[in-house]
């Protein structure tokens, strides 16, 4: 099933590689990816979508939260459903 994740991260060289590398290393294929600035120049918003089951998305959310330069990880679909 398709999941869209929204990630706020510190706007620094290498931070994007860290997120993309985590997904690759744990066997998740990113289908779409957008990175954009936010009102705070020190923070970027990364929006990505991927295909995986619910257990898989729960696990990759937790793993993404372990990245030091990640500020916040949200899964808007679950937030709406909840």
């Amino acid at each position: 099933m398709n999941h869209t994740l929204s990630i706020l991260l510190q706007n620094e060289a290498g931070a994007l590689v860290r997120v993309a590398g985590l997904f690759a290393a744990r066997g998740y294929n990113i289908d779409t990816l957008t990175v954009c600035a936010t009102h705070d120049p020190a923070v970027s918003r990364l929006t990505l979508s991927l295909q995986c089951d619910d257990a898989g998305v729960a696990q990759i959310l937790q793993q993404t939260r372990k990245l030091v330069d990640v500020l916040q990880v949200a899964h808007p679909a679950t937030a709406l459903a909840a």
Binding site: L8, L9, Q10, E12, A13, G14, A15, V17, R18, G21, A25, A42, A55, A58, Q59, Q62, Q63, R65, K66, V68, D69, V70, L71, Q72
Partner: protein, 622 residues
Amino acid sequence: MTTSAQTTQPAQATAIDQHPLAGHTMSGADVIVQVFADQSVEVMFGYSGGAILPVYDAVFRYNATHLKDNGDEPMPLIVPANEQGAGFMAAGYARASGKVGVAVVTSGPGATNMVTPVRDSMADSIPLVVICGQVSTVAIGSDAFQEAPISNIMGACAKHVFLVTDPAQLEATLRTAFTLARSGRPGPVVVDVPKDVQNTALKFHGNGELALTGYRARLRAVEQSTLSDADCAAFFTALMQARRPLIYAGGGVIAAGAATALRAFVDTFGLPVTTTLMGLGAFDTTDPLALHMLGMHGTAYANYAVEDCDFVLALGARFDDRVAGVPDKFAPRAKFIAHIDIDPAEIGKVKPVHWHHVGPLVRALERLNSYGRAHGLRPSLDAWHAHVAELKRVHALNYDRSSRLIQPYAVLEAINRHTDGRAIISTGVGQHQMWAAQYFDFRAPRHWLTSGSMGTMGFGLPAAVGAQFAHRDKLVIDIDGDASIRMNLGELETVTTYNLPIKVVVLNNVGDGMVRQWQKLYFKGRFASSDKSLHKKDFVLAAQADGFAWAQRLEHAEELEATIAAFLAFDGPAFLEVMIDPDAGVYPMVGPGASYAQMITGEFIASRDAPAAREVQPSHMF
């Protein structure tokens, strides 16, 4: 990544907490060494090279001007044969001491040689701070001499990596690296420092760290989380209904310093304890309620207890594939599984649990202990204790005691009679590692140093060196294999260079024993590349060449006791090669993809089932 421009400063720096060097101008290299000193670093490990020379010079000058009263250097820099050795020395130091291990290496090959220890420490949650020299900022990306993209490479292996391109951020970044390494679930942090940053004149502040608001907010939430009365009540409702509750304790108990809290919990409620490979020492293995190690090569009685239990309390453990190879069939009769860990990502990662808590282990165990006591909740476990005692008696570890060939188990038992569970034991990876895990007693945490998750051959010798620097007066023994020790054999010379009284044991079975064991089971005995009978190395001569005054080969079983006694009694570095039965296997064995019920116990350990010819299926997993 580059370091953040944000730093946190204490709101009011008073004269009392002002650093004596605050406001002084010093080079970036001097800043690095001063932060090390402020972090109470007492030893570091590393190999020099062009891009790290300013730091090496700063260490030299710091040591020369801060000699201790006894004339010793305050922060000796220990030089290995290879940077991988430095990394495992730092890891051995960290594992044995509980402090952050520090390694300092140069750019390019120096840094890439450090990748294996960094990944190994990440996998086993060991706190390290690794400083890598880097080519100057203007040369980064130009394919310069000894340049490698360390922030990319290490980013995939480490807990975090910093590339310091703004010299003004160097001091806060270094201090933050120590905080990151030791906080939450510990791990290795790499700081890549270009040579021009090391040479920049900087004003030293003496305090301040990077903000890292996301990490710190998550850390605070985990550290402050507590067990409510309702959480405790749910836990004890399940425990009081259990007849056969079992604790499954992992390396997290040791990392959290929770062995005392675990002991107190067991004293109150009487749950038997089995530990993972990484958890050995978290609970005194000589205790009647200790079941030693579980898993693929765990004791038969621990694995049968897991089969029989109806309640599991997992503490700082992660249901790894060497423990729960088939997660659905792990603890199949458990009606309730409780899990406490510091890492939220480990909850439910492998196996769904009924109750969990993410938070500091000591506080969680103390809270459960006091709640249970206050409510008079003590399960009656006499029948379960009797069952566990019977499992330990009937399914005890055993081997061919009548063989004329030297049995590796007998060697370890003989050493254990001398050390009594109080020596620091390091290992390589393979059969000797599993035998050591099974046959040694461990009475306290941080006495067992092994590459658990990564399984890195060559770990044992450098880890022993690091451990000896953590505990100068303790007996440190490296139990190694002939193949594993070859991986970092250069570090034999490091042992004698620093005159470390390490005892090195090589259990020589002329090949990669564990690989052969799998080839016997799953590849019809075709020993592809695992036989080393054509190898010419004379290990005793090699040890002598590296300066070992005591180096012997043991080839006859009748000389075992006397040789071991002389070896351990020698005052100084000693090397013992033991020619063991090359066909000795590691039993019990829960094959890959098998459940504990399908455990093979071998010829000498009693199995619960009739040893029916069980078809062993080769597995595509692991």
